[in-house]
Symmetry: C2
Subunit: 274 residues, 2 copies
């Protein structure tokens, strides 16, 4: 499509990660990107691709993953039409919560200035069925002081290569593994044995949040010395890896940040907290 | 088993109704009762049956369904052992949240003095994926005054045969369809487009809560006159039925009430609100 003949739209997507093989398109097709592209082509066969803000792994859910696509101007659908039409084509475990028209030079991934992830821990003895696959049930009570101490260690700019995995796709992220984490919050539910860890940062390496959570939990269980986290962060030996990666279950992509007001028009959907 | 050789245990069960064919055992076996009996026999092959407080339909979830079973005294498991052993045998979408030993003349169904059901409505435009199958998404904003007016009509002792369905198993409940509803609460979420309807009563006919909810929602949408509900409750013509049954999705069995302190010993599990 020539530039003058197309429009770019940015979607905000929520999905239940438990039943999909992650974001990234793959053979077999049961990924969020595959379902989304199929829905886009169902609405408008000329659409060629959809670009996410980044990948989420199998089992990881999202409240506001972002993705953009180009549609021919001739499609004549406004943002509200796109949202409704896509939701009619998508499985109910993937929902377009919002659609905005953006400039043609806007890019869901390259324009992202940061992300917010939540990781939910469950400290109770018996996991309620509706929480299955959405939390990590940890053994025993976590020491709050140690949890906060570990959280403080991760905040700031560090070389996180010890807290990441190789994607196995030939792309070596760890050549530039410096990342800024703006904040690590520890949020305690008042009535339930749930602890939310919330990470805001400019970007995250592959499995980085899960390696950090694994280390924080080990630390709060008294199985890992905070000094060891410190040591891995200053990178005495970059071939070393953090010893534990938390399961995908508890991870939720909550937000993707962009600079300024990129939105031209927007549909809106009331979201519910979960 | 002779009476002196057995012990009776009462379970409190939570389950995700979305993936089971209801409570009641049936050919094919994917019911909560079937999974539970299989788990019980897995722990102790001499166990013959398990008796629930009542049925829940396919798609209906529970926070605290109750069921009792008899085990040989020789099994020598305490309530905590039973809870752990059963949870190890059950699918994660069914959890034993509590186990108590009760007298041999206690019966999960016949001793129940009442039940509490919650029905969750969603008024938003786009249903978040994690709520799929757990709420009824209604069209448009419900009129709160009409919703409260309808709620008031149902509270009290009435003949509810117009608000029930025939089970189709030859047992005609409607010969005695008088039931007492102690309260109908309308609870509004502060931040989300959710409305919970909570029903406490001494007992409910087959699909009675769903027929009541269907009527309340129709009323709050301006599609059913409250006078029509009144007419069906006083029973001008008992062959008539309420016009609409709400889907199973939004229904949750929250509690089963028993008189007095039947518990001899009890295991306990912190529950989380959902």
């Amino acid at each position: 499509m020539a530039e003058e003949d197309r429009k770019r739209f940015l979607l905000s997507l929520a999905y239940d990660g438990r039943i999909f093989e992650g974001w990234q398109s793959q053979v077999g097709g049961n990924t969020v990107q595959d379902h989304l592209l199929k829905a886009l082509k169902g609405v408008c066969p000329q659409i060629e691709s959809v670009q996410g803000s980044g990948r989420t792994d199998a089992g990881v859910s999202a409240m506001a993953q972002r993705a953009h696509f180009d549609a021919p101007a001739s499609a004549r659908l406004d943002v509200g039409n796109w949202q409704k039409a896509l939701n009619a084509h998508l499985p109910p475990q993937i929902r377009v919560m919002d659609c905005e028209q953006v400039d043609l030079d806007f890019h869901a991934r390259f324009n992202a200035t940061g992300k917010c992830y939540r990781y939910r821990l469950f400290e109770g003895a018996v996991l309620p069925p509706l929480q299955h696959g959405l939390v990590w049930q940890v053994r025993g009570k976590l020491d709050r002081d140690l949890l906060h101490e570990a959280a403080k260690l991760f905040a700031g700019r560090h070389d996180f290569r010890a807290f990441s995995a190789n994607r196995g796709d030939g792309h070596d992220e760890t050549r530039d593994a410096q990342r800024m984490i703006h904040s690590v919050e520890v949020l305690q539910s008042q009535q339930d044995p749930l602890v939310d860890l919330r990470f805001k940062g400019e970007g995250f390496l592959y499995k980085m949040v899960r390696f950090i959570v694994g280390s924080m939990v080990r630390c709060a269980q008294g199985k890992l010395d905070p000094a060891e986290i410190q040591r891995l962060l200053v990178g005495v030996d970059f071939s070393e890896k953090a010893p534990f990666c938390a399961p995908a279950d508890g991870l939720m992509l909550e937000q993707v940040y962009y600079l300024g007001n990129k939105s031209m028009t927007s549909s809106s959907s009331p979201a519910i907290s979960d």
